[in-house]
Symmetry: C2
Subunit: 434 residues, 2 copies
């Protein structure tokens, strides 16, 4: 009995660690034996207690306030096991009692809930011109926002880290949360990011961002455990968790703003590629345009043609031809405003929108040919314009192939922050019970 | 004890079913209890015995002939458990004894080996002009090959199925294997294939292949369990299992022959896409060429320019200009022969190879931008030419971005068949013990 059981136990613990879904019963009664699983592991009873606590915590987080009897029912654990695990979790400050619930006859049961204010996680979206930040509790509910425009001399890595630290402190002050309660930070950077090494390889829209060890810089600056990720990838995670791609396992998030890039989501998680550069579609060639050699340190062809600046150039050329180049209220319009004008029926603006949609539709067709995703989510300051989405969709549907569904981002400029919070919550989860 | 154990057991059984790696001890001694896992399952002891048999069978297949003592050591199971499981496997005809091994002092131990001739699996590669077939034993070792050129009136679905059946019977006759021992068939088709439904959506190089229920047709024709898959995807599986991409989890197999297509391999398995059309790169636009609307029922731009016919057209144009158009031994050369000529230093042929490599390098750059794979494997009658691979690699390396590694197929025209055998072996594996 014993030997087999231990082989069970080792596997089971790994199983629970991975999925945290299957509860088990009273592990303290488990016998020990001589079989050694391949990896060294700490003593099993502690691990099993940990797994029980984790299961109950997860139930509390998903289902909200409930009684111990509810937990017994939904976990399959025995009442004494639930009681002892809840006591342990309570001692760590992770749950709180809420008073009494509805009685089904006898004494009304005490309700327990996950204490989301036990800790907080922070998100930072480092853009080419501004820094956006968010603080959220352990349920992912935002409790504070902060943002600032970078001054011209604030775009180097060290300055960005110190502005970010300032933002973190400001949010903690606003909310009266001690910085020690901020358990994790995820920062998004506008460039190719080696998530494993914590290094931003290259971010062309900032100053001096080549091979920046952003993760260790931020850890040092803030004292907080940190993940760094590409900003478009974070936006894709955000849209997957609670946005336009909720529940869609295979989709591509196409971000159009100053730059053009994509976050590739396959089988329910980000696809980074062998060198962390998957989704760098700004460098794609544009059908019908002259062939160009690829130069990673220059703006790519697609981005040059339908990034914000490319769209505004098209607009200025058309104003010029129409003799309207000197009207400042027209000449100074930015890409989203030009699309607003198109929406109102302005013919010149409609031409620019049409120009953009044709090129965007070709790029999406390329993505569809390679990946055949279920869905494309258009995001970013330019890409999330509803009229652009509808026109692109119309063009794709008129072609002779089955195109993916297209929809605009639900989370807009907040997508990156929500994605970052989601990654931080996942990172923190396994440490809550330690 | 009991209740927890059963919760263990349910999970453990699922675990072994998925991975078939972790052995366990003497399940017949397990107690039963009242905990019901969410899914209904047959009685556990039978399941656990099954899991033990499966573990031992896997060890025998991987390690080759070994003694019961070897199995006890490498499985972690007890000697009586191994003995009873081996007796069970032997009764099913899945192992055979080989005589005596080397003695370590006492009586020399009897060696047992997996009986690969217990059954066979068949592979069929349906091409635009010919059918290739292979029969392999349960170790995947080929025992027979068969191939035929389709007559002009043999390219419709029903005729292809009957030619395939003929090939199957011919291979069985050659080898004296009763068709009843052929346990599974995987057939590859040159078109978009819905693997789940068993339907070939569209195969332009055959006749009348639109929405063909190939799986059910083949099952009916041959009486054998069948999988249908896209041929390029099968080639990718073949290269992954025992070819140029062995052990590479993220790679793209680019097939260039009459057609141009790709098999996308992601995290160690095929990526099919939402509508089974991932990798249809023949329709990609070619940088610098005029923009074309996408028409799935015509030849795509990339395929038209660097598929076999496109390359041969370039060659004829150059012959024309050089006044050599009427030399039949030159004018009738096919793409691989033109590349052979380039290899020997012929300048016109080198120009054609260069033309092809530039366009191929751009297509690979597109794949690298969106997918960033570790490796590109070039295959197919045209794509596997070594000189083309070297020239494409040189062009990619001269560009200003980190390109993927490129290598030619190791398995050549046999890649599809090896991939098919591999899928059939996986499909058959779980049924061997039933």
């Amino acid at each position: 009995m014993c030997i087999g059981l231990i082989s069970f136990a080792g596997i089971f613990v790994k199983f629970v660690y991975n999925l945290a879904t299957h509860p088990m019963e009273n592990p303290s009664r488990m016998a020990t034996g001589t079989f050694n699983p391949p990896e060294t592991q700490p003593s099993r009873p502690a691990h099993l207690r940990f797994a029980n606590c984790r299961t109950l915590l997860q139930l509390l987080r998903v289902h909200g306030p409930c009684s111990k009897a509810d937990l017994v029912r939904s976990s399959g654990l025995s009442a004494p096991t639930v009681s002892s695990a809840i006591a342990q979790i309570e001692a760590l400050g992770l749950v709180e009692t809420l008073g009494e619930g509805e009685s089904s006859g006898g004494r009304p049961p005490e309700l327990i809930q996950f204490k989301a204010s036990h800790g907080y996680v922070a998100a930072a979206d480092i853009g080419g011109t501004r820094l956006r930040m968010m603080l959220a509790d352990l349920n992912g509910t935002p409790v504070a926002h902060w943002s600032t425009q970078f001054a011209a001399d604030q775009k180097d890595p060290a300055s960005v880290c110190s502005v970010l630290d300032e933002g973190l402190r400001a949010m903690c002050q606003q909310t009266n949360i001690p910085t020690s309660k901020v358990l994790h930070l995820t920062a998004g950077a506008p460039g190719i990011t080696d998530v494993r090494a914590g290094i931003v390889r290259f971010a062309p829209n900032l100053t001096g961002w080549t091979e920046v060890p952003l993760r260790s810089m931020l850890r040092k600056q803030t004292g907080i455990e940190t993940i760094v990720e590409n900003d478009t990838n974070l936006a894709a995670v955000g849209e997957y968790r609670q946005g336009a791609a909720e529940g869609v396992e295979d989709f591509v998030f196409v971000a159009m703003g100053t730059g053009v890039g994509a976050g590739i989501f396959l089988r329910g998680s980000l696809h980074h590629g062998a060198r962390w550069s998957a989704g760098e579609i700004g460098y794609l060639g544009v059908p019908g345009a002259p062939r160009e050699p690829m130069e990673m340190h220059k703006t790519g062809q697609l981005e040059r043609m339908i990034g914000g600046a490319g769209i505004e150039l098209q607009w200025l050329e058309r104003l010029e031809r129409a003799g309207l180049r000197n009207e400042p209220e027209l000449a100074e319009l930015r890409a989203p405003q030009i699309f607003d004008l198109a929406q109102e029926g302005d013919l010149l603006a409609l031409e620019v929108l049409q120009y953009t949609a044709v090129i965007l539709a070709d790029a999406i067709a390329t993505l569809a040919l390679v990946f055949n995703p279920e869905l494309i989510v258009l995001g970013g300051g330019v890409g999330s314009h509803d009229r652009l989405c509808r026109e692109t969709d119309r063009l794709l549907r008129s072609a002779d192939f089955a195109p993916p569904r297209i929809r605009t981002s639900f989370l807009g400029t907040q997508a990156q922050l929500h994605g970052a919070i989601s990654l931080s919550l996942t990172a923190v989860e396994s440490k809550l019970l330690c």
